[in-house]
């Protein structure tokens, strides 16, 4: 028998579910315990932010919201590994990564609260990132196009996109990794495999034993990572970003995690999955293992946890207030950004809509 091609997919994990080190070669960044505490703090603030968002929705102060509960290690790992000059193309759940890059909670609330200004991220580097992409996986091609622009201009920048396990079924994902492989583009495509695409489980998305291996067909580097272990996520991301930045091509990362919440606040996951499965997933969730590890290293304790939670509460309350105090845009705002300059024909429509609005007051 002649073998035309052979491949294997590495699985990367440093901390098990209890926070025990499963290998000794910890990456450099993990030896900086102050930094690891910073990562933990952002994971915790992401969780506080998420709970606040759901509370806002349940009290009628927010529209439909997509929770990130359980994804904290994956998301913060992605955001913390990227350099400011890189570009991020998220879907609509990756708040941990986005908060790291300067998206403000009030902007998330604005967007899910029905106001386009939530996409007008004010702080760098988020300001040059893409806004949430609602049509699944389309952002992968926007990242590939960004990577192509960087390559053409000779810029040492990387484009990162995230999709879910469901998103990895879409042509846009395949198109993006295919383009990246064909042209050696600095693209890192991260599949956040949280096991569920609304009600459809991972096994119905694909017969492939790993989603990471989809990148093999595109000629990319592929790895599967424990997505609840931030050390593993961050390490895999750093390596992928370095390779891309050095002109060694793109990567596909599969971060294996679990969506602990509903798909969105409009969803009820009890309709399609059992409590046992969710309980099992809670035992492997990402906060506990990092907390155990930090406590063992004596850089974190209950008092610090409570103090930081209180700070987060205050931070989020400020953000919520800023959001709730935001006045609705004037009616003309629906016209203002349709084109760079309002065409004469559209100006007439705007004036008509404005006159109706004035009549109504």
């Amino acid at each position: 028998m002649t073998i035309a091609a052979k491949f294997e997919i590495e699985y990367l994990q440093y901390l098990d579910a209890e926070g025990k080190e499963v290998r000794k070669d910890l990456p450099e960044f993990a030896k900086d315990l102050d930094h690891m505490v910073e990562l933990y703090k952002l994971m915790l603030s992401t969780r506080v932010f998420d709970a606040k968002s759901i509370a806002l929705q349940r009290t009628g102060k927010l529209g439909t919201y997509a929770s990130c509960l359980g994804h904290e290690a994956a998301h913060v790992g992605i955001g913390s590994a990227m350099k400011p000059e890189d570009v991020y193309a998220p879907s609509y759940r990756e708040y941990g990564a986005q908060l790291y890059r300067g998206v403000q909670p009030r902007e998330v609330y604005m967007y899910w609260g029905g106001d386009e200004r939530g996409n007008d991220y004010q702080k760098e580097p988020a300001r040059h990132d893409f806004a949430w992409s609602v049509p699944i996986a389309t952002q992968c091609l926007h990242a590939a196009g960004s990577a192509l622009a960087f390559k053409i201009r000779g810029e040492k920048r990387v484009a990162v996109c995230t999709i879910g396990d469901g998103g990895s079924s879409k042509g846009d994902f395949y198109g993006a990794i295919n383009m990246a492989g064909a042209r050696q583009l600095p693209l890192v495509a991260v599949i956040v495999n949280n096991q569920w695409a609304i009600s459809v489980p991972r096994k119905i998305q694909s017969g492939a034993p790993t989603l990471a291996q989809k990148g093999i067909a595109a000629g990319l580097f592929c790895i599967q990572v424990d997505g609840n272990d931030i050390i593993a996520v961050r390490k895999a991301m750093e390596d992928a970003l370095d390779r891309a930045r050095n002109g060694e091509g793109g990567s596909v990362l599969e971060l294996v995690t679990y969506r602990l919440g509903d798909h969105t606040t409009a969803d009820d996951a009890r309709r399609y999955r059992g409590k046992e499965e969710v309980d099992e997933a809670w035992a492997k969730e990402p906060m506990k293992r990092l907390r155990n590890w930090l406590v063992k290293k004596k850089v974190w304790d209950d008092a610090k946890e409570e103090a930081w939670k209180a700070e987060c509460d205050e931070w989020m309350d400020n953000e919520v207030n800023a959001y709730l105090e935001t006045r609705t845009q004037p009616v003309s705002a629906m016209f203002d950004y349709t084109f760079a300059e309002l065409p004469a024909d559209l100006e007439k429509q705007r004036d008509h809509v404005l006159s109706l609005d004035q009549k109504a007051h």
Binding site: D120, T138, H142, G145, S146, A340, A344, D345
Partner: protein
Amino acid sequence: MAQITLIEAVTQALAYEMAHDESVVVLGEDVGVNGGVFRATQGLQEKFGEWRVIDTPLDEMTIAGVTVGMAVQGMKPVAEAQFEGFIYPMMEHIACHAARMRNRTRGRLTVPAVWRAPWGGGIRAPEHHSEANEHLFTNIPGLRVVMPSSPARAYGLLLAAIRDPDPVMFFEPKRIYRQYKEEVPDDGEALPLDVCFVLRDGTDVTLVSWGAQVKEALEAADALAAEGISAEVIDVATLTPLDFDTIAESVAKTGRCVIVHEAPKTAGFGAEIAARLAEECMYDLLAPVERVTGPDTHIPLFRLEMKYLPSVERVVDAAKRTLAAS
């Protein structure tokens, strides 16, 4: 000065803009060494290299999505859809992202991109190579839909499309790609994207068209002139945003209007013009507005396609009906 065809004018405009603005890149299937299946990008890769004239994998969705990404990063990509019948996989990126990026980010991110596509029937091409589907794009906010009808307008409008800060669909009527030549100075002068062009003055009836059908409209005007009927001919050129004022002024003068287009009649872009005439010009009209269009069928394979496309005779007959009505 050289006389050039419409497709040579497309090439000339691309070459001019690429030479003067290094953020302009061309991408698509077979646009590189092969110069495009119609040769619209002939010689460009030799001149500008394979990273500015980019052969992509064979996937329209990839071309469209990558175009959005490049444009957001400040490049000015000009993407080619090999035929308008293959543009459908591109539409999600055009409608859901390119056309709404500025709006949904409050101007933070923009998509200054152009999608070129050979458009329409009449060249005895295989199935899916002869569609007229511009009306599927004219209902998308935030998008300009442009169609030239002569070499000079192809050059000037394509330059304008590339320089425009918003996304533009640029449909090239392939039936007249090589129909005739005219002098097109390579002076980098763009034409405005916000006006219709009055190609022929007249007083009795207004013939409104765009793309390849402008030829039939002009020939119909000649035929009508021979019978003492004075027809004004308007090339809409930029369908959206529409310069309706030019059409309204003409109809205020003639009182009659015939709209000619290749696409199916129902909800074709002619329906929009007819509706606007009814809304805004009712009291100027001396006769019902006529539409001469393709029927609401698929364009047939090529043995029958010329029976589908609006003919000069149909345009002349429609114009005469408007005259007979008053």
